[in-house]
Amino acid sequence: MSNGNEETLLPPFKKKHRSKVKISPPLLPLIDVMFTLLMFFLVAARAITTEGMLPSNLPEVGKSNMTAVAVRISLVSDAAGRPAVYQVEGESRREFQTAEQLHVYLEEIKKRLGPDTPIKISPQSLVRWEDVVNAFNQAQRVQFKKVGFERFNG
């Protein structure tokens, strides 16, 4: 019977049977960007190398206190780009092919003459900078206190 205040009867709630749709973000643009980044780093970057410095003190021009040079390390190369030979002039004249051999000899000199012995590095003009740095490094390694460079000698 209707009383004018009819309630609409709704059908009982039923769980909708949703179809299982897999939702996933579009990965392709992400991969594109990542590959671009990867390419950038591969091309613009290089493997990290630990850099160091060999510190030295410079005298004023013409006022070097290395007047009495006890040991002179001459670097001689027969052609541009070729490894240099280390010729040490001191108490005697010795020649070394490698920086490690030079190091051993400098250790002996330090034991005999002490760390205050002036060492002068005298490279030829066409000697590679790497060989000069190696000679300087060996003198630093042995902890000589006075190590200097000479203008190239030919």
Partner: protein, 179 residues
């Protein structure tokens, strides 16, 4: 006839065939993180300088020397060759020649007057640092030489002479300290 088939062929159930991107993304992310952490971006300052590598490095790390220090100038000596390994005698000879100097990235041509130009630029740099209040003591100022390991000594000597003429007390030679 079925509208689709499994990737293995045969008569599998119909469905979308898709590639699993997740492991690919994982690997790529790992590679990117690796490169971000272990690399340094090439800069114009030192892009073409192959530093010497002594067998047992006796100096200190650049980071330690530069720590809290702003009063320095970097002079690079660049080789004419950018190839790292070449057995060709012509290329070796080319690599032993310097192309130019660079002082804090500013090129200075190779010439008889290069030492004089470098000396003036070192003095200018020290003066500007002093005026900007970045140099507490003038003797703290140092010159760092980044020369290509292959160039001849005659190209590096003017840098040493310029630093000495500019009355710089400290002169640091940069090399690779990896053992």
């Amino acid at each position: 006839m079925s509208g689709s088939s499994s990737v293995y062929g045969g008569h599998g159930p119909a469905g979308d065939v898709s590639f699993n991107y997740t492991p690919l993304v994982d690997v790529t992310f790992n590679l990117i993180i690796y490169f971000v952490l272990t690399s340094q971006i090439s800069t114009a300052n030192d892009a073409r300088v192959f530093l010497p590598k002594p067998n047992v490095f006796a100096g200190e790390t650049s980071a330690k020397i530069r720590e809290g220090q702003q009063g320095y100038t970097v002079i690079s000596v660049l080789s004419k060759s950018i190839k790292t390994k070449d057995e060709d005698p012509a290329e070796i000879a080319k690599a032993s020649e310097a192309e130019r100097y660079e002082i804090d990235g500013v090129p200075v041509p190779i010439s008889d007057n290069a030492a004089g130009q470098l000396e003036n630029k070192i003095k200018e740099k020290r003066k500007s640092l002093k005026e900007a209040g970045l140099l507490k003591k003038p003797e703290d100022f140092f010159v760092e030489v980044r020369a290509d390991k292959r160039v001849q000594y005659r190209y590096v000597m003017p840098v040493i002479m310029a630093a000495a003429a500019a009355e710089v007390k400290k002169f640091n030679i940069t090399a690779i300290s990896d053992q």
